[in-house]
């Protein structure tokens, strides 16, 4: 058992998989010589050499095109898109090519690749470097989407993503890179499509992702002191979605709250709430509530950013209000 930071866990996960399978490659801007601008790939160049760990030009379409072409021809590349916001400059390759190719070719082509990226706010980086865009990816058939919230999960989900024969968008949360956590020794491999109940509870289900998981847990602790017993589920994987774990929890508690960092409209919670409002309709005791960033771009000033991202206080307040509706 080692205590690792979330960022170290990324390198550990990649290392585990690159050791195991020499078809696993890594490419992206500054991922090799510099070990990544977030230092999530530190040491990999030394360990696996410049053939397998490649510093690229600033050309995200070229990066993902290279990953896709390599994946189609026997490799298992991991490409980095430095900030999740930058997916927008290569969105075509992601949504129109990578996501659709297996289907359009009637299964002739396989797309075993991972796109890792740092997403999320709380670092005062403003509107173009802070977005949580898991919901963009969730809306596109053919993409799998994960966001780990702990160092252990970083390793396990990275391994699962690399071993998956489908394209996986792997969102790291920039606000968690410095967070520490225990990571068991030896190989760790998770399964995609499994949510984890981080805290069992009876009165309400709170589903959260990424940086919102620790906040939801902290809020749950505070709510417990008021006698509200909240179940906190770390969604982890949006596609595939663990509806079994999520919806059975909602049916049991009769209440659903999502805690989402994305802007309000069509955040991932809208899918979950829609599912619950359909499939758990008869079990719901109060309206489902989404706790999100309002539908605005993120401001850069610290107090403004803090005011708009879902905070522990806001989660507490919304759940309290919702439960007592």
């Amino acid at each position: 058992m080692a205590e690792l930071t979330y960022r170290q866990a990324v390198a550990r996960g990649l290392s585990q998989e690159m050791d195991r399978d020499e078809r696993v490659l890594l490419l992206g801007e500054d991922v090799a010589g510099a070990g990544g601008v977030f230092k999530t790939t530190a040491g990999l160049l030394d360990r696996f050499g410049p053939e397998r760990v490649l510093d690229t030009p600033i050309a995200e379409q070229a990066i993902l095109g290279a990953a896709m072409g390599a994946a189609m021809t026997g490799m298992r590349p991991v490409a980095e898109i430095m900030f999740a916001d930058f997916f927008a400059v290569c969105w075509d390759i992601v949504v129109n090519e990578i996501a659709k190719m297996r289907y359009m070719t009637n299964g002739q082509l396989s797309m075993p690749l991972v796109i890792k990226s740092g997403g999320g706010g709380s670092l005062r980086l403003g509107a173009q470097h802070s977005q949580s865009i898991e919901n963009w990816a969730m809306a596109v058939p053919g993409l799998k989407v994960v966001t780990p919230s702990t160092p252990r999960d970083v390793v396990g989900l990275m391994a699962a993503a690399v071993r998956c024969d489908d394209p996986v968008l792997f969102f790291e949360h920039k606000g968690l890179y410095a967070a520490k956590g225990a990571v068991p020794d030896g190989e760790i491999v998770d399964e995609l499509g499994r949510a984890v109940v981080r805290r069992p509870g009876r009165d309400a289900t709170v589903a959260a992702l990424g940086l919102m998981v620790p906040r939801a847990l902290e809020a749950a602790g505070l709510l417990a002191t008021e006698g509200i017993d909240v179940e906190v589920i770390d969604v982890r994987s949006l596609v595939p979605l663990d509806t079994r774990t999520l919806l059975s929890s909602v049916s049991r508690t009769g209440r659903l709250f999502t805690v989402e960092e994305n802007p309000r409209l069509l955040g991932w919670g809208a899918e979950l709430v829609s599912l619950a409002a359909d499939e758990c309709f008869w079990d719901l005791e109060t309206p489902c509530r989404r706790i999100t960033t309002p539908h605005i771009p993120l401001p850069s000033a610290d107090n403004l950013e803090d005011a708009v991202l879902p905070s522990v206080a806001r989660i507490v307040e919304e759940v309290r209000k919702g439960v007592h509706t």
């Binding site: 095109g65 290279a66 896709m68 590349p77 129109n96 396989s110 024969d165 595939p240």
Partner: protein, 353 residues
């Protein structure tokens, strides 16, 4: 190649006048390769004509983009490529698909939306793919596939397989960002990618010249990637064959990417809906007169191939096109359950447990 200027509504544009093609009779192309090239030209020509007929009969669904008039490029590359090389084509990809040896029937059946189509009816005319024949997809959104071809080339390089990735695209594609990213990436990492710009002088309806800063949309950009400008006659199958052979050899031996600009012309409109009326009649006529199939037939005749041998090839191809048509037409509609397969590697489309 002389490119005198003709003018029409949209501005001034080059028209190719038949150069003294007879000089090219002396190109070093073995006679059997020449016969093979002619067979390919006939296949591509007759296939596309049939596709057009089926469209007129309202049997071809969706859209389709024909290569009539542009066959020499696909023929030349198809003949020169190694069996395991990769082809990356566009929506205008029938010719490139067939020229890698993909049988006609499944291609036609795909255009008809039948279960015996190359992709079971899930892809359509714009996405022809046959991995078994090295056809790694036809791509219908401009630009992306130049980047994807690099990935296959990178993988080939890492595996030391000696394969080359050949990527075909149009003149209009040279102005999109992905072109630039792909060319620089390939050159920076010396990837075995051969980029082939089929310059048919037009995008959909707009002449490339009206919106491009340079005269030769691909060749004049080569230097920006440290590459040699290669500007060739895309209507001459021998030129295309020798160009392809040289480019492939260079890429294969590790000298990095090659960028070819092959000048050609499409006889018809951009896609099924387009009669191509925006082009001046003299321009169309000049290019019709410089038809790659006729040009090549004349050369073979000059080189002593008997008229009856040529006619036999033509008739044979005609028969195969008829057979393929019958086979395609006899295919059933896809089972609607097929719409739900192959989203994921597990064969299904489920996003939840």
């Amino acid at each position: 190649m002389t490119l005198p200027l003709a003018s029409h509504d949209y501005g001034a544009h080059p028209t190719v006048l038949p150069p003294s093609v007879t000089a090219r009779d002396r190109l070093q192309v073995p006679q059997e390769t020449r016969i093979d090239l002619y067979r390919r030209l006939q296949e591509l020509r007759q296939f596309e004509k049939r596709a057009y007929d089926l469209f007129l009969q309202q049997l071809v669904k969706g859209t389709s983009h024909l290569s009539l008039g542009m066959e020499a490029i696909a023929a030349g590359f198809g003949a020169a490529m190694r069996k395991d090389d990769y082809t990356f084509a566009t929506y205008r990809g029938h010719a490139h698909t067939l020229s890698r040896g993909v049988p006609m029937a499944p291609v036609l059946a795909e255009l008809l939306g039948r279960a015996n189509g190359l992709m079971g009816g899930k892809g359509g005319s714009m996405h022809l793919t046959s991995v078994e024949h090295g056809v790694m997809g036809s791509y219908a959104i401009i630009g992306a596939h130049l980047c994807v071809a690099n990935g296959a080339a990178w993988s080939a390089k890492l595996r030391g397989s000696g394969q080359v990735a050949v990527c075909f695209f149009g003149d209009g594609t040279t102005n999109i960002g992905a072109f630039h990213e792909a060319l620089n990436f390939a050159a920076a990492f010396r990837l075995p990618t051969v980029f082939v710009c089929e310059n048919n002088l037009y995008m959909e309806y707009t002449p490339i010249r009206d919106v491009t800063a340079v005269e030769r949309p691909a060749a004049d950009r080569a230097a920006a990637y440290g590459l040699e400008p290669l500007h060739v006659d895309g209507n001459d199958a021998d030129v295309m064959y020798t160009t392809a052979a040289t480019a492939l050899a260079r890429a294969r031996e590790g000298a990095g990417p090659v960028l070819v600009e092959a000048v050609t012309y499409r006889h018809g409109g951009h896609s099924r809906a387009d009669p191509g009326k925006y082009r001046p009649a003299e321009e169309v006529a000049a290019w019709q007169a410089y038809d790659p199939v006729h040009l090549y037939r004349d050369r073979l005749t000059r080189l002593g191939v008997a008229e009856e041998d040529l006619a036999r090839i033509e008739a044979e191809v005609g028969r195969r096109v008829d057979e393929a048509t019958a086979e395609a037409k006899s295919g059933p509609l896809p089972d609607t359950a097929e719409a739900f397969t192959d989203v994921w590697a597990d064969g299904g489309s489920s996003w939840r447990n």
